[in-house]
Amino acid sequence: MPSPHMTLSADDLAPLPRTEAANTLVRPSLSYWEDAWRRLRSNPRAIVSLGIVVSLLLFALVGPLVWRVDPAQQDVDQISQPPGADRSATVAAPLAPWRPDGRAPDAPVLALDGAATTQAVRLVWGPLPGAERYRVYRNLYPAERGQAFGMPLAELSGQEVRAFEDRLDLRPQTWHYTVVGLDARGNALPDFVTLPVTLARVITAADAVARGMADREQDLPPGTVVKFALHPLGTDYLGRDLLARLMHGAQVSLFIGLCAPLLYILIGVVYGSLAGFVGGRVDQLLMRIADFVVALPFLLFMILFKIAFGIGPGESGIMPMLVALVLLSWPASSRLVRGQILQMREEGYVGAARLLGASSPYLIARHMLPNTLGVIIVTLTFAVPSAIFTEAFLSFIGMGVAPPTPSWGSMCNEGIKSMLEHPHEIIFPALFISVTVLAFNLLGDGLRDALDARMRSRE
């Protein structure tokens, strides 16, 4: 490579004048932590991840103070509502009895009598050829010949009864009603009439008052539009508020995700430094014990321990999970710390400190642990996502926290059952797990680059 310094003149070799400045450091000396922080700050991915982690903690801790909805409370008016669903309802008079006599048309069509609302759908139809009696179906999909018509609602006795009032579990959505004629022996005839019906949500004034939408019934004349409770992220299959459940689930998932690694790494540090520092027989014995724990298949024994600890009535099952995680996970970090300590025991500065009369506890606390702290912090950061994964996995197979305590994993478990109809019920918890794990992984990468020169990845 050609360089401008290749050609030197005599001037270049002339000694520089001695100044005071040359003997002082230009930059202030940085401590290890200042240097690490400077490195981390220059890594945009790590800083964004740090921001996400902090906002997740705020979401879990401050969120429930702002959004004070009980995560176990069921809103039976809004079950499996996606976010942003229409939550307005029109106030209507209480449902009056229906006298359909003489209202049925003469032509073979299916028609509505009155408006279709969530109070009642009143159907009338004309005579179908050859029909002795009629059967009424309701379906989510348009009726087609040769296909099933959906849920049979009723079989009406007699040729003359050509009216039906549906009041079964009505929701504000579109349904396809189908009426099929039956012959004298009850076999379905080929002819049918069908009608798509979109139901309008209505509510009586008394119900609206009972739900706290107004103080007095007099304030709600028929035709007034009222709004149901707001669920920013929708509701789940029991009508529980998803945002509140995500916040409380974040508490569970993050509590386990942060506390379990903190605890087991703490145990690992004590255990590993003891083994590494004492050495000899004690070290052999301690490490052999750790080897056995490592040999246990992790997730299988998580399940086994969860069963063994049991969950009493009214308990959430968070503590058994924490204990099981700690019991099974400590050896890896103890091995790591032991290795570091063994390596460091031979270092010159440890010998120097010992020469100066440093005691063993002082050596461990002042020289060895601070030097392993970087590695420990990086291990901790990478342990968080795996703990969150473990919690989610256990809750997903039904061995995690007990209902009604929400966790992101159990929310996914509930959401996956109606994934096609109500995707929002699985998308949100899955997204939270993924973003959390992603953030901790990227933060871990950043911390590794910042804290530990030996482990620095070659980017």
Binding site: A295, P297, L300, L304, G310, I397, S434, L438
Partner: protein
């Protein structure tokens, strides 16, 4: 032969480990509150006593332990508590091949994919293919297995809807078309992990002296890649195959659950939910022994593949 001596020693160690797993399983299951006959119809004390005698539950703990261990040593895992007259051995014999087929397919997909993508990213280091693949990798590592499984199922539904014909079955087991997506889903996390590993290993190898020497000798780049770089870079991937198999085995629980595959994993989860004690103990010990054995096989394989590794 040192290899045989090494293999024998590892095998003996493995048997001790399996014994430890069996003991831990036994003790864990005996710490369970309540007892296996609680949900049963053993209403009268006489029936209860008979059942306890039948399952050996009236014996003191150390006797039960001895019976359990000696049965295990003879390869007898006992009888299911919830499905009468069904031996745990039968359950394993019937359902494990399904899990094994799925697992082998997944590990092949993960291994091949990991090596190919990892090598590719190392070759295109810091260029578009590298960035794109590594982005997908970090995404795959961060998404839990059951979400990937759900997405896989959604993809099948979408594919079938787009093509208008049922191209791939959404769930179930029986033909190759049933296996494809579940195996891919199962292997994806491991593949992402292996890709990362392969990339850093490849970057390390590319920087070595023998690659520079090979280049200096004028060997074509493709030959250097296939004969010098790839072969050496693959070695670390083999070392992590042991943990990868463990991951795929337990990951199989979720995938089998989501895709309704009649494998041992799904059966195990069901047994856990129904508290079928003998099935839980049997499958745990079986899985534990399987994983211990697989780690030994992988270590032996590593010694054979890489002659520089001294087995000790």
């Amino acid at each position: 032969m040192t290899l045989w001596r090494y293999a024998l020693r590892r095998l003996l160690q493995g048997i001790v480990t399996v014994w430890f797993i069996a003991t831990a399983t036994f003790l864990a299951m005996h710490a369970v509150p309540g007892d296996p006959l609680m949900s049963d119809k053993a209403v009268t004390p006489e029936i209860r006593a008979n059942l306890e005698a039948k399952y050996g539950l009236d014996q003191p703990l150390h006797r039960q332990y001895l019976i359990y261990i000696s049965n295990l040593a003879r390869g007898d895992f006992g009888i299911s508590f919830t499905q009468k007259n069904r031996e745990v051995n039968d359950i394993i014999r019937e359902h494990f091949p399904v899990s094994a087929t799925l697992g082998i397919l997944a590990i092949v997909i993960a291994g091949m994919g990991g090596v190919v993508w990892g090598a590719l990213t190392a070759l295109y280091r810091n260029r578009l293919p590298d960035t794109a693949i590594m982005f997908l990798v970090i995404l795959a590592i961060s998404v839990p297995g059951f979400v990937i499984a759900a997405l896989g199922q959604l993809a099948i539904v979408g594919l079938n809807r787009v093509t208008g014909i049922p191209l791939l079955p959404v769930a179930g087991w029986g033909s190759v078309s049933h296996m494809l997506i579940p195996a891919l889903v199962l292997g994806l996390g491991t593949m992402a992990y292996l890709t990362r590993l392969m990339r850093s290993s490849m970057l390390e190898v590319i920087a070595t002296d023998y690659i520079r020497t090979a280049r200096a000798k004028g060997i074509p780049a493709t030959r250097i890649f296939t004969h010098h770089a790839l072969r050496n870079a693959v070695l670390p991937v083999i070392t992590v195959l042991g943990p990868a198999i463990a991951g795929i085995t337990t990951g199989g629980f979720v995938v089998e659950l989501v895709f309704a595959i009649p494998g041992l994993g799904r059966y195990f989860v069901q047994a856990v939910q129904q508290l079928d004690y003998t099935v839980i103990m049997g499958t745990t010990v079986f899985y534990g022994a399987f994983l211990v054995f697989m780690v030994i096989v992988v270590d032996l394989l590593y010694g054979i593949v890489d002659p520089r590794v001294r087995l000790e």
